[in-house]
Symmetry: C2
Subunit: 213 residues, 2 copies
């Protein structure tokens, strides 16, 4: 896919959501959808939806709305839904364990193929049917399994050291569940998911909202 | 805390991060910090930091930087760090279980006090030392434990029905780990954490980045 304008991160994060909701509309037999209908289903205001879509050129016609199948095809290609992305998980603690069981089973195009943990034996072991190796074998196994992305659920202490090795391989993207802010080159994308921060932000919103009303 | 301007959600999500990094600077004995230093530590550009801070009025002096202790006090109050917020978790499956074990132990001001699961007996049971009750007791136990926020890790199928009960209580905020977009009144805040969407967005970023280079 080619594009000139830089897509904001907030828009990027909504793309898979559009794809999911368009599939729902298609499943209900709907052929066209307006930004207003998408807005109501997705709880995002319709101006935001129109602006997001505008980054990708003319996706709809005025007064007609959007063609559901056309948009599904467009997002399927944009989001590489036809290709499988292999993922490695590093750090099989509580959260890592839960993510291995979860294994993004609702998505067809991603799978955790291999995991790493400092307690795993050299010959490997299995957790939720996924092979787990010690960090010594990181580079070797990531090449062997054709891994493109890593989920980082290690301790804060080890986060940067493991990251330094991942960017050398190089891995293309890291989903970072540690509270550390990782140093990476521009060619590696990091998605920070810090559950404590999210909860703190929610507390702020909930308490400030109450003060207003 | 009083403020007039509406704070953008992206800024809100960074507030706890500022607080955390300011504590790091204080722990290293630093008395002042520039937006440039914060920028390097947090991997956020300094213009964003100055704009975020500007929502809260004059927090620093030109050419002097920010007073670390003053900012810590400011964010501590803004983020209600002196009060404990009681949290309930609903749905003790794989992810719910991991979150009970995790229990935001790095934060001093939040704790999961009670959980709910459809398989729990009426008299309750314990998971990771946290009492778990069946959903029949939701309203009763949330009142008993003084719960303000709920973490939703139920199935998609039950998400809206449980939400409808939570907003009636009323609960102030919901951290939603289900893929559903919840219908809530304006007085209830929802923080959506959809791990599949985050992973899809990361794939998009990683693949598009590669195409550019």
């Amino acid at each position: 896919m080619k594009q000139e304008a830089k897509i904001p991160q907030a828009t990027t994060k909504r793309l898979p959501l559009y794809y999911r909701f368009l599939q729902n509309f298609a499943a209900e037999g709907q052929e066209r959808v307006s930004s207003q209908q998408l807005s109501e289903a997705m709880k995002i205001d319709s101006a935001t939806i129109r602006r997001d879509f505008s980054y990708f050129g003319a996706l709809g016609k005025k007064g007609y709305g959007y063609d559901v199948q056309y948009l599904i095809e467009f997002f399927r290609e944009t989001l590489s839904q036809n290709e499988v992305t292999n993922v490695a998980l590093i750090g099989v603690g509580n959260l890592g364990n839960a993510l291995l069981k979860y294994n993004f089973s609702k998505t067809q195009n991603t799978r955790i193929l291999v995991a790493f943990d400092s307690k795993a034996p050299l010959e490997g072991t299995y957790v939720s049917d996924i092979p787990v190796f010690p960090p010594e074998l990181l580079e070797e196994k990531i090449a062997e399994y054709g891994v493109e992305l890593a989920i980082l659920t290690v301790s804060s202490r080890s986060a940067q050291a493991i990251t330094d090795r991942l960017v050398q391989i190089p891995i293309k993207g890291i989903m970072n569940f540690t509270p550390e802010r990782l140093d990476v080159p521009k060619s590696t994308h990091v998605m920070n998911i810090d559950l404590s921060l999210e909860l703190q932000a929610l507390i702020y919103l909930a308490r400030n909202n109450q003060a207003d009303s």
